[in-house]
Point group: C2
Chain length 273, copies 2
């Protein structure tokens, strides 16, 4: 028996997962959330499957210690590398961002030609290809790693000629390949959605897995009858944020992208989990 009043655990390598949190807040506003961002060891996207899985296992233990009812891996790299292994190890449901993004993209393409942009790890894992070809083996998938997008976003160059130039280089082969749908396969990429959209052209549909994941999470909680149906009480600490590095930078970024004021976060030594 899972307690439907328990919080949802959400984690990411750092701050990108807040784009998923933002969608969960919008779509299922009654839910409590415990967020963990691994800001001491960020990024994951350039690291190995083994290391990322070890880090994620520690985070799952941390979230379980907070008695969450479900865990959302709000990070494409974590979803690509660690989800299959970790969901076997726990007895609460776990979802990632890759499957919902793959499903939405497979439904969106009209010409059967799909692009995925993501970290080196996510592209190297070929996980989007696997999920999409399970859904529809006729779809052609082209993947492209875009390692500079995260640092450019974190440097605040959201609307900038340098970001345009890098986007044109990374996306050139996808444009030449005549795709009609593009998955933004890293949680930072929706923050440069307008640049990516301009470079790709209006005829290309951009799929944001953060949005799709919140939809799928809501559906899953409904099916299992563990949606929290009570509106949260005032002052009830509905959203709790934890990070592995100090909290100041995290709080600044969180407040720059969330409507809800993130007033505080706590630092945790995740290596102890």
């Amino acid at each position: 028996m899972i307690d439907k009043n328990a919080p949802i655990g959400v984690f990411d390598s750092g701050i990108g997962g807040l784009t998923v949190v933002r969608e969960i807040m919008r779509q299922i506003p009654n839910e409590k959330i415990v967020y963990f961002g691994d800001t001491a060891r960020v990024p994951y996207g350039s690291k190995s499957r083994e290391t990322v899985t070890r880090f994620c296992r520690q985070i799952v233990r941390f979230l379980q210690a907070h008695e969450v009812k479900t865990i959302v891996a709000a990070c494409n790299t974590a979803s690509a590398y660690a989800l299959d292994e970790l969901e076997k190890e726990i007895d609460i449901p776990m979802i990632g961002v890759v499957k919902p993004g793959a499903k939405a993209a497979a439904a969106a393409t009209r010409n059967g030609r799909l692009g995925v942009i993501a970290t080196e790890a996510t592209i190297g894992s070929r996980i989007y290809n696997q999920y999409i070809q399970q859904l529809n083996p006729g779809i052609t998938i082209l993947g492209k790693a875009c390692p500079l997008f995260v640092p450019l976003v974190e440097e605040g160059l959201l609307q900038d000629p340098v970001t345009d130039e890098i986007a044109r280089r990374y996306l050139a082969e996808l444009i030449d390949s005549d795709i009609d749908t593009l998955i933004l396969g890293c949680t930072h990429y929706p923050l440069i959605r307008s640049t990516i959209g301009r470079v790709m052209g209006e005829h290309v549909t951009l799929v944001n897995p953060a949005y799709e994941t919140a939809m799928e999470l809501k559906e899953m909680l409904r099916e299992k009858e563990i949606l929290n149906t009570e509106a949260p009480q005032l002052g009830s600490n509905q959203y709790q944020f934890y990070v592995s590095d100090t909290t100041d930078k995290f709080i600044r970024f969180a407040n720059s992208i969330m409507k809800y004021g993130v007033l505080s976060a706590k630092q945790v030594n995740i290596e102890e989990y």
Copy 2:
């Protein structure tokens, strides 16, 4: 009594410290080296003093387990944040890259106006300012964090219009300030030395702390009479490389910048130290 035949321990947040290793190999070719690169938790330059110091303390324990005769913090951020604290905790000499760089820059400037480019952490610590003003309080120091330089180097854009454009932006205020000497205060930056030199102009002297650190290390070992005077025996495993993530990517990078072939590296779970 320190064993002069023991190896020198060198560490960095990842791969950048190999530029220091390269200089040590050139300047004191008889020495054995044990290198540790924290590739699972890289980078350090955007993280807090507390977290960086905790990571460095684990690495110092790891190197001490290898019975090194001295430890070189071949990372500006580690030198800025952790060196003062950690050198008090151990009984072998420890040197960083900041003091040697500061000393060389203070000696090089003619107009008393000096620039430092480095990570956010190193610039925020104002450590170069402190050391240089101890040496000569009349020197004016201007610091500038350049967070995109490391990702640009790691993406291989060493000679590229995008790197030129980013360099022009970061360096504009230093050029306007009429500095005549610039410290490359991050171990990755010597790899884009030609771009930085072109943007700054020929009249600006670039100081590479990697080179200065190897010089100072040699001097320190001589003073303490622990220079290794014997040439290493053939097949004696003179250089050992350890990393916290998997080894493949590290070995590729190491071989791209070192003349000596880095044939192997070992993975270590540094969180256990």
